[in-house]
C-alpha cells in the first residue's frame, strides 16, 4: 500500500515569467484536496516553488515530477540549463548568480537553494556544467 502514489508531471516553461509557479500551485491544490496538513503542504509548496523559479531564472525551464505517497512527497526537478559549477557555494545563503532584472522581479536573493533544503527532509543535487541539473527532494508527511 505504502508504495502506491499519485504521480504528477509538469513542464516548467521559461518563456513567460508570469506563469512561473503554476506547477507548484497545482501540487499545493492537490495536497490540500488529499487532506494533508497545512504545515506539510506549505513545506512542499515552498520547496517546489523555489525550485520552479530557479528553473525559470537559470535553466530555461525543465520538468518537475511529484510523487505523493502516503507518508512522503518526492519531488524531482530536472533541467538542461548551464549546471551548477560549485554546489557548496550555491547552497550558501546570500550567494546568487541571478541577473539584476530578476532581482527587480523580487527574486535572486540567494535564498532559494538553502530554503529548499530547509523545507525538505532530504535534498540531493546532481549537476553537470553544460549538461543540466537535477534536484531530488523528499518531504515526510507528518
Amino acid at each position: 500500500m505504502s508504495d502506491e502514489c499519485i504521480r504528477l508531471e509538469f513542464k516548467v516553461d521559461s518563456e513567460n515569467f508570469a506563469s512561473a509557479g503554476s506547477a507548484s500551485e497545482a501540487v499545493k491544490t492537490q495536497l490540500k484536496l488529499l487532506g494533508i496538513n497545512s504545515h506539510d503542504v506549505r513545506r512542499v509548496a515552498i520547496a517546489m516553488y523555489e525550485g520552479e523559479i530557479n528553473m525559470v531564472i537559470h535553466a530555461k525551464g525543465g520538468t518537475a515530477v511529484v510523487e505523493i505517497y502516503q507518508n512522503r512527497v518526492d519531488i524531482t526537478l530536472a533541467d538542461r540549463g548551464p549546471g551548477i559549477a560549485d554546489i557548496d557555494l550555491a547552497m550558501k545563503e546570500g550567494y546568487s548568480t541571478a541577473p539584476d532584472n530578476i532581482r527587480e522581479l523580487g527574486f535572486g536573493a540567494g535564498m532559494g537553494l538553502p530554503n529548499m533544503k530547509k523545507n525538505t527532509d532530504e535534498m540531493r543535487i546532481v549537476s553537470n556544467p553544460g549538461v543540466g541539473t537535477t534536484i531530488y527532494m523528499k518531504v515526510n508527511l507528518t
Partner: protein, 117 residues
C-alpha cells in the same frame, strides 16, 4: 484586525475579493523581495509590498497569505488581480510608502508575528 480596518487606516482601495474584507488577520510582514518572504515569513496573513507582478500573488499563495497590500499607489494589471481573485487573496492599494504603511499598521496593533507583544 479586520482587513477592512487595514484599508481604512491606510486609505486603501480594495481591488479584488471584496467579499473577504471582514476577514480577521493577526500579523503582517513587509518586503519587496519575494525570496525573503519565502525564506523568512512564517504565519503572517498580510504582505505589505511595493512589488507588483504575478509572482507576488503566487508567493502569497504558497505562504497562505490572505491579503496583499500594495504601497506607493501601485496599479496591478488584470492578470494579477484575476490570479488573486482565483486564489481568494484580497489585494489592497494604498498611496502610503512602505515605512509609513508599516508604522501605521503596527501602531494600530497589527504585529509582526513572532515579535508580537
Amino acid at each position: 484586525m479586520k482587513i477592512s480596518e487595514i484599508a481604512e487606516i491606510l486609505n486603501a482601495e480594495a481591488l479584488c475579493c471584496k467579499d473577504k474584507l471582514s476577514d480577521e488577520v493577526f500579523s503582517a510582514c513587509a518586503s519587496d523581495m519575494m525570496s525573503d518572504v519565502l525564506a523568512f515569513v512564517k504565519d503572517q496573513a498580510v504582505l505589505v509590498t511595493g512589488l507588483c507582478n504575478p509572482q507576488v500573488v503566487r508567493t502569497a499563495e504558497m505562504m497562505d497569505i490572505r491579503c496583499i497590500l500594495l504601497v506607493r499607489d501601485k496599479h496591478p494589471d488584470a492578470t494579477i488581480l484575476a490570479l488573486a481573485e482565483s486564489k481568494g487573496i484580497v489585494v489592497l492599494r494604498s498611496p502610503h510608502r512602505m515605512y509609513i504603511a508599516c508604522g501605521l499598521l503596527y501602531n494600530a496593533g497589527l504585529c509582526g508575528g513572532e515579535h508580537c507583544v
